[in-house]
Symmetry: C3
Subunit: 302 residues, 3 copies
């Protein structure tokens, strides 16, 4: 991969993706190093556990170190500094910057002001490309990326993770099934883009009809905030919740994924099944981010 910044999964070709996944597999196997002189800036303008800790871990596993802005409350952002100024300052301290920000387009904007690589770790309703890469890595390791039948279930309207994954999967030979309540269907624009690529896409309101075919079931959370009424929320959410009994209708080697945090859309009894892959998925954030950082910082780890 040779990009100055990683803003969107859309900028990644199949070759880019496969390069990162191959490199990640090698880091997962052999560990990393070679970046002892590199510092990564962590600018998280929104709470995060998994993403921030896994970037922090990845950089340290590469032998480097990180410099963290800390929470917005403890930073001078409170004094009214613009994002462009903050990023320009930090770019002079570090060799690359990971940015999470509540505003869509923030990472793109930031990348226009600095020379060091910017990695988008989520920009509001926008992109979160390293999540997509670790999802792809997890799928490839467990089910393969070709001749794949995947179901994506839950909140398909607001979930940026889902839109980005769906788009990235069109680089591969996959059949995508989208399972959601009517009110949380994939947005028209996303559907349109998928169809344009010639992707095999179907939509469902229930899991039962498609579960037996699936190689991967990717579950996302249905957020209470999306429903004006608590009762309606409970009713809808309950239909898209899975437990061990649900999965008895699935293939033996079904891979169940979730971007985490989960609340109760996957029952704890699923954790004990061989289907449960969501913790492994989270762990895969480390080698995938090692691979990305290594590539963007100039491949010291090779």
């Amino acid at each position: 991969m040779r990009h100055d910044h990683l803003i969107s999964a859309k900028q990644l070709t199949r070759q880019d993706i496969e390069g990162v996944l191959d490199r990640a597999a090698s880091f997962a196997e052999d560990g990393g190093g070679g970046h002892e002189d590199h510092l990564l800036g962590l600018l998280f303008f929104e709470p995060s556990t998994r993403t921030k800790m896994s970037f922090d871990t990845a950089m340290k596993r590469l032998g480097g170190d990180t410099v963290d802005m800390g929470s917005v409350e403890s930073s001078s952002v409170k004094k009214g500094e613009s994002l462009a100024d903050t990023v320009r300052v930090v770019a002079g301290y570090t060799d690359a910057i990971v940015l999470r920000h509540p505003s869509e387009g923030a990472a793109k904007l930031a990348s226009e002001f600095v020379d060091v690589p910017i990695i988008n770790a989520g920009d509001g309703a926008g992109q979160h490309p390293t999540q997509t890469l670790l999802d792809l890595y997890t799928i490839r390791e467990n089910a393969g990326l070709d001749d794949l039948t995947i179901g994506i279930m839950g909140d398909l309207k607001y979930g940026r993770t889902v839109h980005s994954l769906a788009a990235a999967l069109t680089n591969f030979d996959t059949r995508q099934h989208f399972i959601s309540p009517e009110s949380l269907r994939l947005p028209r624009g996303v559907r349109y883009d998928l169809h344009e690529t010639g992707a095999q896409v179907r939509e469902h309101t229930g899991l039962e009809e498609v579960l037996p075919e699936l190689d991967v079931l990717y579950v996302t959370r249905i957020q209470r905030e999306r429903f004006p009424d608590e009762n309606e929320y409970r009713q809808v959410a309950g239909q898209y919740r899975i437990d061990a009994a649900t999965l008895e209708a699935a293939k033996d080697d079904l891979t169940v994924m979730h971007p985490l945090p989960r609340v109760d859309e996957i029952a704890a009894d699923v954790d004990e099944t061989t289907h449960a892959t969501y913790f492994e998925q989270a762990h895969n954030g480390v080698p995938v981010r090692m691979a990305l950082l290594d590539a963007m910082l100039g491949g010291g780890g090779e």
Copy 2:
């Protein structure tokens, strides 16, 4: 020491304790290293300065590094994730986890879900075993652990530090004096357990009668919140406050300890006396935690 997790001081035998203290003494003397490839996860669900910073320091003095979840407010715990899920994710990033949590039993619970070692850094009213180990280390360095007469004073009802230390001391040849207001006596269960071990234990409501015999005086804070009435609090707290004049009745080599933070239960003029050992005690947290981490991570530091 060979334990998968360190949840409670109760799991430590005399041999375990002496092993850690010997190793700590060696780290205090010679410094550490050998853990360049190890990462320690810091999961503090409650505020902490001393404990967190000294684990952070200990790991870095061993040559390793840490990955910090940050405050709960800046983490996805806010999104409703369970402790078990958070710990399972972080266990995939790091080689061991230090956990502080407001709920008693949290560390035990966490240890049931992961393979990496969990070190309990305080679970509500429960255990805080590394505090006990650094207390024992400080006592051994200053007064010896055998043929010891120790007074433990202040809030003996709610202080987890005190219960844990008292229990651990029964492994050694010690006489324990407990000095507190009637309303803050050791809980019946703790007293019962101490007597069961055959420990030499006495209770007092005043310090004067026992002070001249003591080798160590361990002071703890009496918290305002324990008293419904401000006046009653002041009156009681005032009786268990020491200053340099108080200590004139003590042995010349009395060691005064306190788990910190103190508010005003030890007057500033004690700091200037040779009795004051509470800052040294805090500093001992580093070699003791180095010793623990080194043992639990597989002894790279030897």
Copy 3:
């Protein structure tokens, strides 16, 4: 430089300053190292981005590491611990301490309790000596410190940065012009001290009359809180705001500085001019702090 602590820019002789700047220039050129065994404690009792991140970066660029207290909310300071106690504890963990605190005199106080070097990173309305050093470094790199004509504009009454820089500049052959509204003039005491040194000092209420002579224009923010009336604030602040058009009357090689964060006292179109030096100025915090840390920790980096 051979000081136990760095509390105030006033303690620095011309020779001290030149020693730090020379060393900083060498770090900027060649990078650092040699402090692999050193830990720096970061105690920030007030929000900070630039200062904290640049100390963190500086220490890591020297090969060392940092241990961070975190925000006051997540520390035991909340439990009522005194600054002296906190600092004494942390001094036992680390090899030097950087302290920011809202109370004037805090760093001096802290330095009286510990043996490890204390570096003042801002104590309320008091001193912020490393800011002064990086300002001097930036001036020396861009305009030289001798035969210098500098304008310092904005809030000259409350800005500690300005007072400290003005005093430090009297060590060199400089002409200082102070440009501010009447209500935000340099305090009488500061003016008196400057005159005492024989410094060439003039005050102005407008930039136009002096701009063409300047080698350096140092802009500071006029804070809304200083004005009881919003309209008055806007009117005054507007007069001390610069943009690219303003600078057409300046020398071609005018250096424009600002301690950051800026709000709107320097228009974005200045960023594109060759005058803009405020991001470089912020970046210079790293080599300057590397130089200081290296000197105070015993020159491992040489």
